[in-house]
Subunit: 237 residues, 2 copies
């Protein structure tokens, strides 16, 4: 019966979750590079070798944490997307950006896991690709649905240089065939710039130059919206 043969599977899921939880705690305390399987095992009261029944290597455990982080960040972005009406793309864009920021500030180490220095010799497996695009897809959804509703303004980005158009056309073809090309190009740049803004705050790179973080970020996010064309005018909210 599935009740019985599921007993082991359920136990396995629980232990797996416990390992990941403890690993997350260790990452928060010591940093991803110093994540120690032995310390996780010690904290869980099991032999270090037993962990290898659940994750064949330390990198596999890290991959699981990365996938979870991508999913959590993507989920936050999608929640931000749903938190504002389609009728106001500018506000929606700022909401999505703010959701990414809030998630990053609440989970700095997990943010570092996906947007910090890549771990050398660690090649992200396919499993991370799909969850890895949830945030940019949420941003793209704002522009796409704004365009569908006739609310997409003229992107401030302007005319994209020729060699880039092949890239943006490929992206558009896969995710938003109707979307004007400049908006796609501006969106990709805005994505990178958004992560830059969040990184600076999460990693403390402003070094004290900015203290009114929230307002500063909101204005910068609004400017990105103007750049993409989902909001108009230089004025803040």
């Amino acid at each position: 019966m599935s009740t019985f043969q599921g007993a082991r599977e359920r136990a396995r899921r629980e232990v797996t979750a416990a390992i990941k939880d403890e690993a997350r705690r260790r990452v928060a305390a010591e940093g991803a590079p110093r994540l120690s399987l032995r310390a996780v095992a010690r904290e869980l009261g099991m032999a270090s070798s037993a962990l290898y029944r659940y994750f064949p290597s330390r990198d596999d455990l890290l991959t699981a944490l990365i996938v979870d982080a991508y999913d959590a960040m993507g989920e936050a972005a999608e929640a931000g997307l749903a938190a504002a009406p389609r009728t106001d793309p500018g506000a929606r864009w700022v909401r999505v950006c703010g959701a990414v920021r809030d998630w990053g500030l609440a989970n700095p180490h997990e943010f570092g896991l996906v947007h910090g220095t890549p771990i050398p010799g660690y090649a992200a497996p396919r499993d991370t690709e799909q969850p890895g695009v949830r945030v940019p897809l949420a941003l793209l959804a704002v522009a796409r649905e704004a365009h569908e509703d006739g609310l997409l303004g003229r992107p401030a980005w302007g005319v994209t240089p020729e060699p880039v158009r092949a890239d943006t056309k490929a992206v558009a073809a896969e995710f938003a065939p109707e979307l004007p090309e400049p908006a796609v190009a501006a969106l990709l740049a805005a994505w990178a710039q958004l992560i830059g803004l969040v990184s600076f705050e999460v990693f403390g790179q402003y070094n004290g130059a900015i203290t009114a973080h929230e307002v500063f970020f909101a204005h910068a996010a609004h400017r990105l919206a103007v750049e993409v064309g989902v909001a108009a005018g230089p004025a803040a909210s």
Copy 2:
């Protein structure tokens, strides 16, 4: 005599430099987190314990590498500043941005050292502060000198929300008292966004969405220039 008592000092400087060089090589090969003092010592043919005569701890060695990286990146930015005439602030801005990008692409691991995930438990000492602001100061120099020459246009950034003005005024007071406040605010955001753009490229975060990296970056940098006010119009060069 300084020739004799300098013998030891010179030897010390040479060994110190050799250690840093080898450490940089190891960081490039294995990543900063996995930097191993023992491996450095082994490669240099000395006992691992001997390294501690030069760097009291692994973190101190990392700090030295970080300071060097900041200086190298700052130097590159300043060289970009000098490579274009004051009469064309827009081109100058793009040059500085491009210099930062080029340096990051040429030295990805050192870039990660200063703009990647911070190492937990590692507090950047004062020594890193001054070299750490060379890049933003180069960006600021573009705007400041453009303003001095009457070449600073209206920043697209618009009116900065009130609570941020205290921050920007403090920055302006220290580094560019004459510079209009919106330009300072836009500049700080542009700095973070620039690093975001470079990070995405250096760390491979675009995941294939962009292939015409150079042109894409140049256009994005030009857009940042417009945002700050050192270039006008949406057209690319």
